[in-house]
Assembly symmetry: C2
Homo-oligomer: 248 residues x 2
């Protein structure tokens, strides 16, 4: 059995951010599996089978990929960003643990990619230049109480905070509640970055303060980065923010 499964990160959107390792895996694949918009980023070619699927069916997609690889296919699961950060890698391991014994023999590799927070941070300067955390606000994966607990701990620790999926369809009020908690606990001048569709033609960057931030500034394509208390603007050619390397 010569099949394999590579869970590959396509990065945030720009093809210039796809690593040669991921490119080589796609070139060697017999099958690509993924959410429709990610599959659309992979060029068609003779002999390549494409298995696009809808959002919110990560486990079905993972099972499809494992079953194909177990039968000898060379399968790339296409993930945006990095597959190990709020993406397909954990879904594949969850499916593996619940699946048939034969799947455990599949040769599985995770190929890292540029995750959204790193792309957003780079475009805006270096807000993640000191200690930070990443929290996913996406629906249905955890109770709001846990999100709130993590947010309060992150503020207490004075981490910069990267928020993935800040405004999800089934929990649109979450981000507004989060801004409310920040307003209780942080100074109004705290810097916030809204980075939408980074590295794509629709990219927009907004650097604002907690006092000026509005829930509507975020949607499902937005990465939000809350600065730490030390994050500051740079007087440069274009608006940039960064967090210094040292803390008192």
């Amino acid at each position: 059995m010569s099949g394999w499964l590579k869970i590959a990160g396509l990065g945030p959107g720009d093809d210039a951010l796809v690593t040669p390792q991921v490119r080589a895996a796609i070139d060697a694949a017999s099958d690509v599996v993924g959410y429709f918009p990610y599959i659309a980023r992979i060029a068609d070619r003779p002999g390549l089978r494409r298995h696009g699927s809808d959002n919110r069916v990560e486990l079905d997609r993972a099972r499809t990929a494992l079953a194909l690889a177990a039968e000898g296919a060379r399968v790339v699961v296409a993930s945006s960003g990095d597959p190990g950060v709020f993406a397909m890698a954990s879904a594949v391991f969850e499916a593996l643990e619940d699946g048939p014994e034969a799947w455990r023999e599949v040769d599985i590799e995770v190929l890292p990619g540029i995750t959204a927070m790193l792309a957003a941070s780079a475009r805006a300067g270096a807000p993640l230049g000191h200690d930070f955390c990443a929290i996913n606000l996406s629906d249905n994966l955890k109770p709001w109480a846990l999100i709130e607990k993590r947010l309060r701990a992150a503020i207490e620790a004075d981490f910069a905070i990267a928020l993935y999926n800040p405004r999800s369809a089934s929990r649109p009020e979450g981000f507004a509640r989060l801004l409310g908690i920040l307003r209780e606990t942080c100074e109004p001048e705290r810097l916030i970055l809204f980075a939408r569709a980074v590295t794509t033609p629709e990219e927009s960057l907004t650097i604002t303060t907690l006092a000026e931030a509005l829930p509507e500034m975020a949607d499902m394509r937005t990465m939000v980065i809350i600065g730490s208390s030390l994050t500051r603007r740079v007087a440069a050619r274009r608006p940039l923010i960064y967090t210094p390397r040292s803390a008192p």
Copy 2:
């Protein structure tokens, strides 16, 4: 003045993880500036000036790069991993703020790369598949009291914890103290990944538990990832760990 400054992430070591965007910047550069081992990863060519420097002189290096770019050079600052994560991007902005007015006109871009925690996580499965934080244990950049406060907050939040520079030359005892705090607060079965020199020929991965972890398992080339309470082993072909996407 056609100079520019691109702060570029070379990733963890394997050239297959250098993005085409970074490769193009290196090809277009007149000058590369960086720590000797990173400069060594860039092929020599006629017309390319190489400015290698020692470790621990980040600000000097940043000033050299800014001064060259301000004079019209096309400068790449070579950083390992991602330049925005405990690397050169913040150092450049610090130098910019303290430098001559002319530097503020330099066209500066940060080019993201695969940071060590993402490479380590990918090699070991997906330990960062749920909410997580990143803490730098490097010397002299912050007081130990702040590290300890952040560590305790991260445990309270049940983040997976990525530790950069766990054993530094001037603070070798820090990681042992950190293990002591973990032993006070976490269960002995808590999973810990020691990922050394990931994606290089010297790579070694150790997945162990808090009960079995020893300070000597980490050195300056090691990335340590402490699992959350939910991080688990996968029964697969090789030892893998992951953190499920959802939490109760």
